[in-house]
Symmetry: C2
Subunit: 202 residues, 2 copies
């Protein structure tokens, strides 16, 4: 049991240690670092976190986080509005946006179905996805979910929910990573990449 010379320090360390991946030792290092900064810097730091929590909005359409009611992507008229990519969190939106390969819209579920973690379909933005599809404008829903048990379950659940609608339902390609040596690819991935082979292009 560590004893701290100051209650305020102990309190700050305990709060910092709540962050994922931050233990008591790192938390102390962070607290002492903040203590060394100017009051203005620490105020800006704390303010940025409060503003994030209190000021951030979720896009009415795709549930991506945004500063406005409708996010930049949904309100961008140059994008393909009849294709929607279903992702788990805003992290995947950022990742896919960074590839520069996708020009459609998104739908952020907020996670995947995982009964063991207490995440049920009703906790996710699945109903709002069905409503978007119901409106009739969407032609394709691309599922970009993790290839885990939970991701696959979620994809299956969404596929069932969207079955009544006349849309193309696709999923991102699984295959050997670019730059990977074939001998190190796992069987399942290699198998999928053979089944889903595509015409050779130079």
């Amino acid at each position: 049991m560590q004893s701290y010379p100051s209650f305020l320090l102990e309190n700050a360390v305990n709060q910092l240690a709540k962050l994922p991946g931050v233990g008591k030792k790192t938390a102390l290092r962070l607290a002492l670092y903040l203590l060394k900064q100017d009051t203005k810097d620490v105020t800006d730091f704390a303010q940025a976190l409060l503003m994030l929590k209190n000021g951030v909005k979720y896009c009415k359409v795709c549930k991506n986080i945004a500063d406005t009611d409708v996010c930049q992507i949904c309100s961008d008229s140059s994008r393909q509005t009849d294709v929607v990519c279903v992702v788990e969190t805003i992290k995947e939106v950022m990742l896919i946006e960074n590839t520069g390969q996708y020009k459609g819209l998104y739908h952020v579920l907020g996670g995947v179905i995982s009964p063991i973690d207490g995440v049920h379909p009703s906790d996710l933005e699945i109903e709002s996805l069905v409503l978007r599809v119901q409106e009739g404008h969407i032609k394709e829903v691309v599922m970009a979910l993790s290839t885990t048990m939970e991701g696959d379950t979620t994809a299956y659940y969404i596929a069932r929910k969207l079955a009544p609608y006349n849309i193309a339902l696709t999923t991102i390609a699984r295959g050997v990573s670019v730059g990977d040596e074939l001998q190190y690819a796992d069987e399942l991935t290699l198998g999928k990449s053979i089944i889903n082979r595509v015409p050779y292009k130079n």
Copy 2:
């Protein structure tokens, strides 16, 4: 260049990425984690950091951090008040306190002399140490500084400053760590541990 869906998120990520050892990727993970917490939790978190910066005091006597004008250690009447251990930061105070082996007082320098980093003797609490010794009550000053070039320089500087006073000036023992195999000890440490050999006690 990463593009964020929200300016508030970008701002929070930039602030979190200022923390030592936290890159942009970790900062994004932390920001999204905070975003998922209750407003109250995030407020408590930010508040704890602000209170630390604005509320914490430095002990008038030893410069350790404290919630009061004089820290717990300096105001503890059961401690040996004529021995002062000189340390770099409050981290070392906490480390030495945790050993339970030391019952004297401390003096926190706030760093070590390091001209290359712009830390000069006047930036450290050396003058206040000399004043404490001048008062005449202190019989021994134990230096517990890093065995780096900077630590050694600081120890030498302090030794010169305290030379005019009739006190014992000691330094913590350097030697082979408890639990270390002798064959892996470095030469310098092994040399020091032979020079400073002590009577064998069962």
